[in-house]
């Protein structure tokens, strides 16, 4: 599975998104389940899927799916279209 697909699955699973709700430009403020505990779940999901553990500052600073891609890309995880 491509990394973009893997990321989509993690985000859908952590925030219980509806079919079609996920977008790569989805923002935290658009998803009411993206709360403080959701941030923790997301960090665990990212670690399980991509092997990278967000620092608390990184995790709390994420405000969109695009931010996740930017952070993981900087760690060498590729998200080619």
């Amino acid at each position: 599975m491509e990394n973009r697909e893997k990321l989509k699955k993690v985000v859908e699973d952590v925030f219980l998104l509806q079919p079609g709700e996920f977008r790569f430009d989805l923002r935290r403020d658009e998803v009411e389940t993206w709360d403080s505990f959701g941030v923790v779940s997301l960090a665990v999901g990212i670690q399980e899927t991509f092997g990278y553990h967000f620092s608390p500052a990184e995790a709390s600073g994420i405000s969109s799916v695009a931010d996740i891609i930017t952070l993981l890309s900087a760690k060498g995880i590729k998200f080619d279209n």
């Binding site: 699973d13 952590v14 219980l16 079919p19 403080s36 505990f37 923790v40 779940s41 608390p56 709390s60």
Partner: protein
């Protein structure tokens, strides 16, 4: 009757002061009530005339997990704020930092009302939803008090690893299990603070007992009753109380109930007195438990699940990785992916994250009791289960 919403008050805290000082009774509610506006309005209309002035109304969930309006008399709550000020050595405290929803009776009385009555500053934050702002408030704190729920401790320790906030001199816990095992983390974060375990319930509005952290070594020890509060247990060890600070009435199931002045009220917990004069909790009086400070009813959750799933289902209780109470849902037989998604979406639609099960598992069939009901213990220990989804907490 004035209805104040939490977001309005976050924008202008003076709204709450004006409502408190105004003669007319007001309701203070979070936006995400889980019940419609119509339910609130209809429930408020049931208040008797004598409660339409000088009172306030908060929304909570009762021992059944069903929504309930709790009616408090302002003078009684002001007396409680004064009592807490004395017992919790509040005089040196110059300000209080809000890290919980203000419409929780705990934060409302221990923080807003206390700050109002004692002319102390209330610093609003969004709690762990915005850890950066919370950290800034904690760093700037000067002789401050904060109210927390136990489940916040591991998160605070994770977000603020290696940092300490000596400006916090009082830390209060309530609304769930006291974080006895995590006290070293609390002391590392707040090295100058006196730490208190507060216990109560919605009808107590909200305090019944108090203890300093070091006065017991078990989370279940909730300390001694506040002055004026009487505690007792019935034959079923259900904890009962009488209190001069408690709510004066409730609206539940479209019915107003007056709490008579001499009535013994159930707290919703099982308990026993200790030889030292303190009280020890033995568990919830029903299948309702608290998670992240919110009461969860397994019956209500099951209603949600069965609305989206026609197979067998059972919940069993399990603590999460931080020791907080949680539950696991077992389905049988294995649902198709679309059916699982329906259940998950239904959970999202009807419940906040605190209510979601820690995991959803499935099996070919559930173990049954002789009476044909699912065997909860058997479902917890059976080996041939598959994990379908989990919260990663």
């Amino acid at each position: 009757m004035t209805m104040l919403l939490e977001t309005e008050v976050q924008r202008d805290i003076q709204l709450l002061r004006r409502a408190w000082e105004n003669k007319s009774t007001f309701a203070f509610l979070t936006e995400k009530t889980g019940v419609g506006h119509e339910w609130i309005e209809k429930s408020l209309s049931l208040l008797p005339d004598e409660m339409k002035n000088g009172h306030f109304v908060l929304l909570t969930s009762g021992t059944t997990g069903a929504p309930k309006l709790v009616i408090g008399q302002r003078q009684r709550s002001e007396k409680l704020a004064a009592t807490l000020h004395q017992l919790q050595e509040g005089e040196p405290v110059e300000e209080t930092i809000l890290a919980l929803p203000l419409s929780y009776s705990y934060a409302f009385v221990n923080q807003w009302l206390w700050s109002h009555c004692h002319q102390r500053r209330l610093r609003l934050t969004s709690g762990l939803s915005d850890p950066t702002a919370l950290r800034q408030a904690l760093q700037q704190a000067r002789n401050a008090m904060i109210c927390l729920v136990g489940v916040q401790v591991p998160l605070l320790a994770s977000y603020f690893q290696g940092q300490s906030f000596p400006g916090i001199i009082r830390v209060h816990f309530a609304g769930g299990r006291f974080p006895q095992e995590n006290l070293p983390l609390v002391r590392a974060l707040f090295p100058k603070a006196t730490i208190f375990n507060n216990y109560g319930c919605a009808e107590a509005l909200p305090r019944l007992t108090l203890r300093k952290a070091e006065e017991a070594d078990q989370a279940a020890d909730v300390g001694r009753p506040l002055p004026g509060v009487e505690l007792s247990v019935n034959e079923a060890t259900e904890l009962l109380f009488r209190s001069p600070y408690r709510a004066v009435g409730v609206v539940e199931d479209a019915k107003f109930s007056l709490i008579p002045s001499e009535a013994w009220v159930k707290s919703g917990d099982l308990a026993q007195p200790t030889e030292q004069g303190t009280w020890r909790l033995l568990g919830r009086a029903s299948e309702v438990f608290k998670r992240h400070g919110e009461k969860i009813s397994l019956a209500t959750l099951m209603t949600t699940v069965t609305g989206a799933w026609t197979g067998q289902a059972v919940f069993y209780r399990e603590p999460d990785s931080s020791g907080e109470d949680g539950c696991v849902l077992v389905l049988a037989p294995a649902p198709a992916p679309g059916q699982l998604q329906e259940i998950l979406l239904s959970l999202r639609q009807h419940h906040g994250r605190a209510h979601w099960p820690l995991r959803i598992e499935c099996s070919a069939a559930l173990p049954l009791l002789p009476n044909g009901k699912p065997d909860v213990h058997g479902a917890a220990v059976m080996k041939d289960k598959t994990r379908l989804w989990y919260q990663r907490i």
